[in-house]
Amino acid sequence: MVLLAVILGAVLGFASIKFKVEGNPLVEKVEATLPQTQCGQCGYAGCRPYAEAVAAGQAEPNLCIPGGDNVAKNLAELLGVEFKPVGGDEGAGPKPKMVAFIDESTCIGCTACIKVCPVDAIVGSTKLMHTILADPCTGCELCIPACPVDCIAMIPVQKNIATWKWQYPVFELKKAA
């Protein structure tokens, strides 16, 4: 019996070293669900800090504004809590995807927006006009307050054939006689 206990103890001890989990796996899962806009609209400094707060139970899972109800639903499911819509109203849905656009004739080349862009989506140099790379832009709107001359606007992403989607089919059930 003692021998068995020693053996099992050794196995358990070995397993605890071998299969040690680094960090909290829930944080990774929560972070994978977030849209990674790094916009800070949830009140945290980025998606990672928010994920940590959500995983630790310090933040509500419905604070991600760019993710909308979809992300809130997925997070609620992941955490096993009740789903609450983002911003309090059901069916608001995620905001339409926007990208920032710099009016190049107004830009003074101050580099203020470049410093705040979390994903390095703005190119330009001091006293030279800046421009935004539409592909990596996450639409976080952090550059808008940073601009001293208000030359940045958010424009909706153009629909095109490559990104077009078939819509949910709407058809009438037979009318009750």
């Binding site: 990674q36 980025g46 979390p118 054939i161 058809f171 059930l173």
Partner: protein
């Protein structure tokens, strides 16, 4: 040869083939204006290589292949480029896409045509020619042929040539096989040369006896085998035809090449022959104009011909025409703009009327009768897929192999509740693809964000290290000659300034009753003090702040 194998399911919709197959192929006259879309194939759209105002010759490349999965587009006639701008294209979305408009000069003058002796040429050179000639699969998906005709290291056992044309109403491949069998076979020879298959099977449904006879006589002495298959929709589906002809099933999520089979359309074989043996790019195709028109028939029309002109050539649509369908009635979609041009992928345009295509009765709830599962040629469970797609349970839909669905419409056809099942699958597929795309984008932004953070940390550390070095150097210099009058004067001045500020602060504090709780101010002072007192030489961010603050004073 009669065919011994079978695929699962299938349906027998009314064929309606004879309407358009009675008349021979007619060459459509040159329209005054041609609109050539740059996205006519799967993959990246072609990149325009001409400018507005340029004069182009027939067969000249006007859009070059962009990337690996892409194909070139060409001027269908000689003329002047009048616009490169978005124009209506045949697409279910109805969204415009980038097109090159050419005003025909009426001369129809060819550019220099360079045929290639494929038997002596390097296979890669032949494939490059196919890419630059804009050869794509003409069966419907318009996948670049040069990509498909590259076996890589895979040993190809069977080359399947698809002449089944199972979709109702369409007869373009039928007429092509009847009238140009020898040229199709010449194209198959080139394909066989590129792929080196052990056998070549040409699959044709047995409702096309003339085409079968023509192909059989053209294949004499080549070793290619014409296999007839009983009429059963969708025998012309790639995976279904492969099952039918070889008995092999393409595994879920894989391509025919993985089991040593390649499948190509007869129309593609014809264009391969024109490109390699005559140096002609894909600038025209055979298209069936049928349905509610006066003279349904097949036309050999230039790519870019507006579809309404083709409808006029077929005698014009009858007055009770309600809409137009691109492709067949099973898999096609409604055209929302007949001003859209003919593209490489269009094999048929049907004028629809309520008499020919009565509107579907209102949909009723699913009764789980599983007739759809019996009809599904992909061995799927359409009723489950419907359930998951309807409730937006996309993970489940994917787990039930939604992406093996070929959207053939057999389930729609047999559904006793008239549920538009395929519409649900298309919706679910689009959503899943969009979700995957968003996930990739999120992952990329996370990487960019982390990289930016890392870069900022590194820059801070570097700056701190630089500052610390400078401070150390200054200290060392001061230690070396402590009596340096300049340094001493500086030190004294700084000391005096610090004293002055302290005195002023004390005076102000004594005069005004403090409006803020003193601890806050104390903390602030402490922070600042810490910065001044401990100019840490370590290259840490905190040290950087400290060093930065000491520097200007």
């Amino acid at each position: 040869m009669k065919n011994p194998h079978k695929f699962h399911g299938g349906v027998h919709p009314p064929e309606h083939k004879t309407e358009s197959s009675r008349l021979p192929i007619t060459v459509a006259p040159l329209p005054p204006r041609l609109i050539v879309p740059l996205r006519q194939h799967t993959g990246n759209p072609a990149k325009p290589v001409v400018n507005v105002g340029d004069h182009v010759l027939k067969g000249q490349m006007i859009g070059a292949a962009d990337g690996y999965i892409s194909a070139a587009v060409h001027a269908p006639t000689s003329g002047t480029v009048s616009a490169i701008e978005p124009h209506a294209v045949p697409h279910p979305s109805g969204l415009p896409d980038l097109c090159i408009t050419i005003e025909a000069d009426g001369e129809d003058r060819w550019t220099e045509r360079k045929p290639l002796d494929y038997q002596t040429a390097d296979p890669d050179a032949v494939r490059a020619l196919l890419r630059d000639a804009g050869i794509v699969g003409l069966g419907g998906a318009a996948f670049p042929a040069y990509v498909k005709l590259n076996p890589g290291r895979q040993k190809i056992k069977t080359l399947v040539v698809n002449g089944a044309e199972c979709e109702p109403w369409i007869t373009s491949d039928d007429l092509l096989m009847r009238e140009r069998a020898a040229e199709i076979v010449a194209g198959i020879k080139i394909m066989a040369h590129l792929m080196q298959p052990e056998e070549v099977l040409i699959g044709i449904e047995d409702n096309k006896p003339e085409a079968i006879a023509a192909m059989q006589s053209a294949c004499q002495g080549t070793g290619f085998e014409v296999v007839t298959a009983p009429v059963l929709y969708p025998s012309g589906g790639e995976k279904q035809l492969i099952k039918l002809l070889t008995g092999k099933e393409v595994p879920s999520g894989q391509r025919p090449i993985n089991i040593g089979v390649t499948c190509s359309n007869t129309g593609t074989a014809y264009t391969v022959h024109r490109a390699v043996n005559h140096g002609e790019a894909v600038i025209s195709r055979i298209v069936t104009i049928t349905g509610n028109v006066a003279r349904p028939q097949n036309f050999e029309a230039l790519i870019g011909t507006p579809l309404d002109e083709l409808a006029q050539l077929a005698g014009g649509a009858r007055p009770d025409t309600s809409h137009y369908i691109m492709g067949g009635p099973m898999m096609g979609f409604d055209l929302n703009n007949l001003g859209a041009p003919l593209t490489k992928a269009i094999n048929c345009v049907i004028a629809a009327s309520p008499a020919l295509f009565p509107p579907k009765p209102a949909a009723m709830p699913c009764i789980r009768c599983t007739q759809c599962a019996q009809a599904c040629p992909c061995n799927l469970q359409p009723q489950e897929l419907f359930w998951f797609s309807q409730s937006r349970n996309f993970d489940k839909a994917r787990a039930y192999n939604l992406f093996d669905c070929i959207e053939c419409g057999c389930c729609d056809y047999v559904c006793p509740s008239h549920i538009p099942l395929v519409s649900y699958y298309r919706f679910a597929k689009c959503e899943i693809v969009a979700q995957d795309r968003e996930k990739i984008a999120a992952e990329q932004s996370r990487q960019r964000f982390e990289f930016k953070q890392m870069r900022e940390e590194r820059e801070k550390a570097e700056k701190a290290a630089r500052m610390a070095e400078k401070a150390a150097a200054a200290k060392a210099a001061a230690a070396e000659n402590p009596d340096d009058p300049v340094a001493a004067a500086k030190k004294a001045a700084i000391q005096a300034a610090v004293e002055r500020t302290k005195a002023k602060k004390a005076e102000a504090a004594a005069l005004t009753p403090s409006p803020q709780p003193p601890p806050t101010r104390g903390e602030g002072a402490n922070e600042k003090g810490a910065c001044f007192d401990l100019p840490s030489p370590q290259p840490s961010p905190a040290g950087g702040e400290g060093a930065k603050n000491t520097e200007p004073s």
